[in-house]
């Protein structure tokens, strides 16, 4: 008898080539413990189905349409969707990336899905912010082939101000992950007025140096404001600390300090 586990997702993106090796299908789970001020996927934050107002263009005219954002799916249904790109995965040594939101927000769904992926022989990557109780974190990362781990900043107070959550568990989990020998990639969003300064970058660098095992690589994700319109569509207010849309992060500085891994 199969156990039917459902999860809430808001998007599936195929030919995803920036979330792990090869050609991948990325599944975006809905719900996240953090509320990052710069978030470009505000529809990913809330762990419930939401209403979104989309504008559609036709011959220069704009039409407003209401749609629901997020839908429930079972791991079996999801697997069928994943299988569609099997050949591309094989040819590119790619696979599946589970992203969000925060996948660990739906641990049973994710672990069931990861087990099924492994059975099918699909390479799996888990894209996480790491804000999850230790035991859940370990149980699930164990099932993934690769972890894409986000670090925002090291200072706890800054983290709380900008994400609404402490980063203590996050840094602990990263340390544990590194000790476990599981391959991982560190991804750092480089955000203006937040972490694109010498102090924060050096702290991040020192923390990464202190890890028992080095990441496979380190990726910098420069801030962009492509998600701004989504706040309106969701009728959410843009966070007070959201960087202005034309503000650029000091990516050169971040590169000079961090990109020696």
């Amino acid at each position: 008898m199969t156990n039917i586990v459902s999860g809430l997702i808001f998007d599936i993106r195929r030919y995803s080539v920036n979330d792990g090796p090869g050609i991948r299908t990325t599944v975006f789970l809905k719900g996240c413990p953090l509320k990052c001020a710069w978030c470009h996927n505000p529809e990913s934050q809330d762990g419930s189905i939401e209403i979104i107002k989309r504008t559609r263009q036709l011959d220069g005219q704009t039409f407003l349409q209401t749609e629901s954002c997020g839908y429930l799916t079972t791991t079996d249904e999801l697997l069928e969707e994943i299988k569609k790109d099997s050949i591309c995965f094989e040819e590119s040594n790619g696979g599946v990336t589970i992203s969000g939101g925060e996948p660990l927000f739906q641990p049973n769904f994710v672990s069931d899905f990861l087990i099924k992926l492994r059975k099918q022989g699909f390479h799996s990557a888990l894209d996480t912010c790491g804000d999850s109780p230790n035991h859940i974190f370990s149980r699930i990362t164990d099932l993934a082939d690769l972890v894409l781990y986000d670090i925002k900043c090291i200072s706890e107070s800054l983290h709380i101000t900008y994400t609404n959550r402490s980063n203590r568990v996050i840094l602990e989990n990263l340390y544990k992950l590194s000790s476990s020998g599981k391959p991982f990639i560190i991804r750092i969003p480089v955000i203006p007025n937040f972490n694109d300064n010498l102090t924060e970058l050096i702290l991040i660098d020192e923390f990464i140096r202190s890890l028992p095992n080095k990441p496979l690589k380190l990726e910098l994700l420069p801030f962009h404001s492509i998600g701004l319109h989504k706040y309106n569509e969701l009728e959410k207010t843009i966070p007070e600390l959201h960087p202005p849309h034309d503000k650029l992060a000091n990516i050169q500085l971040a590169e000079s300090i961090l990109l020696h891994y």
């Binding site: 195929r14 030919y15 080539v17 036709l58 039409f63 349409q65 569609k84 790109d85 040819e91």
Partner: protein, 787 residues
């Protein structure tokens, strides 16, 4: 770019040369027929003598610095006309001169020649006149409604490629073969013995005609050398003269001779008549390799590259002969579809990639010319390195080379009955058309407008644009209570129009066999000599006729929309749908929004829409494949539009997929412009649901922003995407690398973007030379931008 001074000059001259009409050929042909009006000789011999007359009298051109000689007209980009096939009126010539896009300068002298000599002689007596007289009313009605086009209305059947044999044979060898055949003709039992004899004699004259032309060049170059003071230059010209004294009479032995040998042959094919597509040297890397290896020790890479560059410039000097007719909307381009093949497999099935492959690809990248077109054949046996090399050129954004699946092409050709060796010696020519090089006459007969047939079905056989009942009465729109009944009516209409098209093509084929044989082309393609039979009469070892389906995406999405909105969701009746289409969606915005945004679409790897593509494909295939033609060919299908989806769009009203009247149809097998929203892997999955192996070519165009090539792993991932598509038997894929902003900028400021070449559909063209509609469409095609 890195050009030697010689190439820099020649290339610039080629780019600067003004496209213009040359009346030389028309004048010579008219004089020949005038002078020989009383000559009572069989048609093939008359045609061969005509070619001989042209080559004996045409002007010779030489530009100092050239290493390959010979122009079809008096000079680069002076394009010949073919009044025996179709006759330009004075008005046509004026339009060609004045039109904004793809124009051809027409000098007062040319107008004079036409007025005083060419028009008076040919008016009412061209192939086109004979052809239009031979077509019945139902053919003319369907043709005028835009259900199909006819390739052989204004251009001769051609569409073939030089095979292996001519790289080791000269014209004298062919003459010996002909004499051998002539001596063995069996007058006792062969009822065709006289015809064979005439045809072989004609081939012999045609072979001699080209030798005469080359020998004239020898003399001409020697004279030129005598007048040249510079010692080095004089020696160079004398060396060229020596080459012309040898090829094409004898087989080439050096790299340089091989290129000049081909070029003479090419000129003869496109001078004899105006075949569509022109002609092409086939597997250039394989053919040139032995010559290269012989000389590699004492020639530098630069010397080989320079010769190849000169060869490239020759192609660029030869624009396609322009059409007659006031609008000339159907297919309008300077490109004459000479598609150079590299890569793939050898005759024995092994990996054919060699040093020449990479050298040729470097030349393509460096020359960056509109012509010749280029493609890379990719077999599972070829290394990824070949694909990476091709991507490195594609990334530079001039639309070349396109990528082809060798293993699929071989299967396609073998399904049609070719031997494995002949299939492997084949490849693609023109846009994407599979053929056995050197052994097959594969004639494209015309494009076929699939969505138009749907439109006619919805109006019970009536065409509103021309105001005529052109189809069958397959039932009023109210009479269909389920999708299947409606589809059956569509299929009946489809059969009706395919029948009309095939009947017409069968007649046209006989007209060419009877009135315009091609003894020169017949020399080149096996087994015309041993069969003693002309290329246009079925002399080739393999003979195929193609009908090219256009608008697969549009019709798939339209059927999906009818099924979804009428029969599944019951949002509206079929009759109401027809009214909305007739109104071109005026006051039906909400419906159109639902059709565009909320209806399953082809190209997203979703069964709901994709199974309609398979359904249409199977109907089209079943109604065409295997039908016989008078010369013994079989009809086959392929799915490519060149630029005809624009013309077909103009004659087709609004379609159920939300497309407005008059706008372009979808192109090739590609999804409707902008309808693919699930990324390229979903696109290739959808595209591979139709059985490419039972076609002779399909065209898939994917537009990528330059950013797609920039990430460190992009080449690897694109290679994997290509390999995946080809593993699923995809026939061809091409990438258009340019961002929409650049294109919009180019449309606003064409003067700043004169070098902008884009992939159109199976070939590349200057963006500025495209019509506004096509420009708009290319801008709209989904740019698979990565965030």
């Amino acid at each position: 770019m890195n050009y030697t001074p010689r190439i820099n000059t020649l290339r610039n001259n080629s780019l600067k040369a003004i496209n213009r009409i040359s009346s030389e050929r028309a004048r010579l042909v008219t004089q020949f027929y005038n002078e020989n009006a009383r000559l009572q000789v069989p048609t093939p011999i008359m045609r061969a003598l005509c070619l001989k007359y042209i080559f004996t009298h045409k002007s010779l051109f030489f530009e100092p610095g050239e290493l390959i000689v010979g122009e079809r007209g008096e000079a680069p980009k002076a394009v010949s006309t073919y009044p025996e096939v179709c006759l330009h009126s004075i008005e046509d010539l004026k339009i060609l001169h004045n039109r904004e896009k793809v124009n051809f300068m027409v000098s007062p002298e040319v107008l004079d020649d036409y007025k005083s000599l060419v028009i008076p002689f040919w008016q009412g007596h061209t192939h086109r006149d004979r052809m239009l007289e031979s077509m019945n009313e139902e053919w003319l009605n369907a043709y005028k409604a835009g259900v199909f086009t006819e390739f052989q209305e204004q251009r001769a059947p051609g569409h073939t490629v030089l095979g292996k044999k001519m790289w080791s044979l000269g014209m004298n060898d062919l003459i010996n073969q002909i004499d051998q055949e002539l001596s063995t003709i069996d007058d006792f039992s062969d009822s065709q013995s006289l015809k064979k004899r005439d045809e072989l004699k004609a081939m012999r004259i045609a072979a001699e005609a080209l030798i005469i032309y080359a020998k004239r060049y020898e003399v001409f170059l020697k004279e030129f050398a005598d007048k040249t003071d510079d010692h080095l230059q004089r020696n160079e010209i004398l060396a060229l003269a020596k080459i012309c004294s040898k090829v094409p009479a004898e087989a080439p032995t050096s790299f340089h001779e091989a290129l000049q040998h081909y070029w003479f042959i090419h000129l003869a094919v496109i001078t004899e008549l105006n075949p569509w597509d022109s002609f092409n040297p086939g597997h250039l890397d394989q053919h040139l390799l032995p010559f290269y290896l012989n000389e590699k020790a004492n020639k530098s890479t630069e010397q080989f590259t320079e010769l190849l560059s000169c060869f490239w410039i020759k192609f660029n000097n030869h624009p396609a002969p322009p059409k007659v007719g006031v609008t000339a909307l159907e297919s309008n381009t300077y490109t004459d579809f000479s598609l150079i093949n590299v890569g793939g497999v050898k005759e024995d099935g092994s990996d054919a990639v060699n040093e020449m492959t990479f050298m040729i690809l470097d030349v393509i990248k460096n020359m960056r010319l509109l012509q010749p077109s280029s493609m890379v054949q990719i077999s599972k046996k070829n290394p990824d390195q070949l694909i990476h090399k091709a991507l490195g050129i594609i990334e530079t954004g001039f639309g070349q080379p396109s990528l082809f699946n060798t293993d699929a092409i071989v299967q396609e050709l073998m399904r049609q009955g070719k031997s494995p060796q002949d299939a492997r010696n084949g490849g693609a020519s023109g846009c994407v058309e599979a053929g056995a090089f050197g052994t097959e006459a594969y004639i494209l007969t015309g494009y076929f407008n699939l969505p138009k047939v749907l439109e006619i079905t919805m109006h019970n056989g009536f065409d509103h644009r021309t105001g005529k009942q052109i189809g069958l009465q397959t039932g009023s729109i109210e009479s269909f209570s389920n999708f299947e009944d409606f589809y059956l009516a569509f299929e009946r209409q489809l059969k009706h129009f395919i029948d009309i098209k095939v009947k017409g093509s069968n007649i046209i084929e006989q007209l060419f066999s009877e009135y315009l044989p091609v003894p020169f082309l017949s020399l080149l393609i096996d087994d015309c000599i041993t069969n003693g039979l002309d290329y246009n009469s079925g002399g080739a070892r393999y003979n195929s006729n193609y009908i090219q389906g256009v608008g697969l995406g549009t019709i798939t999405d339209s059927l999906s929309a009818i099924n979804e909105q009428v029969f599944k969701k019951k949002v509206l009746t079929l009759k109401e749908f027809t009214s909305a289409l007739k109104a071109d969606f005026e006051h039906f915005d909400k419906l159109r929004l639902a059709l565009i945004y909320d209806t399953p679409k082809w190209g997203n790897d979703q069964e709901e829409a994709d199974h309609f593509a398979i359904k249409v494909f199977e109907s089209f295939f079943k109604l065409i494949d295997g039908r016989p033609s008078p010369r013994g060919a079989q009809y086959r299908i392929n799915l490519l539009p060149t630029t005809c989806h624009i013309y077909f769009g103009q004659v087709t009203g609004a379609t159920p997929d939300g497309r407005k009247a008059g706008t372009p149809l979808s192109e090739g097998i590609s999804p409707v412009q902008g309808a693919d929203t699930h990324g390229p892997s979903a696109v290739i999955k959808s595209m591979s649901k139709i059985d490419h192996i039972r076609t002779g070519g399909t065209l898939l165009n994917q537009k990528f922003a330059p950013s797609f090539f920039k990430s460190p792993d992009s080449y690897r991932n694109l290679t994997a995407l290509i390999r995946s598509y080809f593993r699923m038997d995809g026939h061809h894929i091409q990438f258009n690398v340019v961002d929409a902003d650049t294109l919009i900028e180019a449309r606003l400021h064409p003067e700043k973007h004169r070098d902008l070449i884009v992939r159109v559909a199976g070939y590349s063209d200057y963006f500025n030379d495209l019509g506004a509609d096509l420009q708009e469409e290319i801008i709209r095609r989904t740019a698979h931008e990565l965030a």
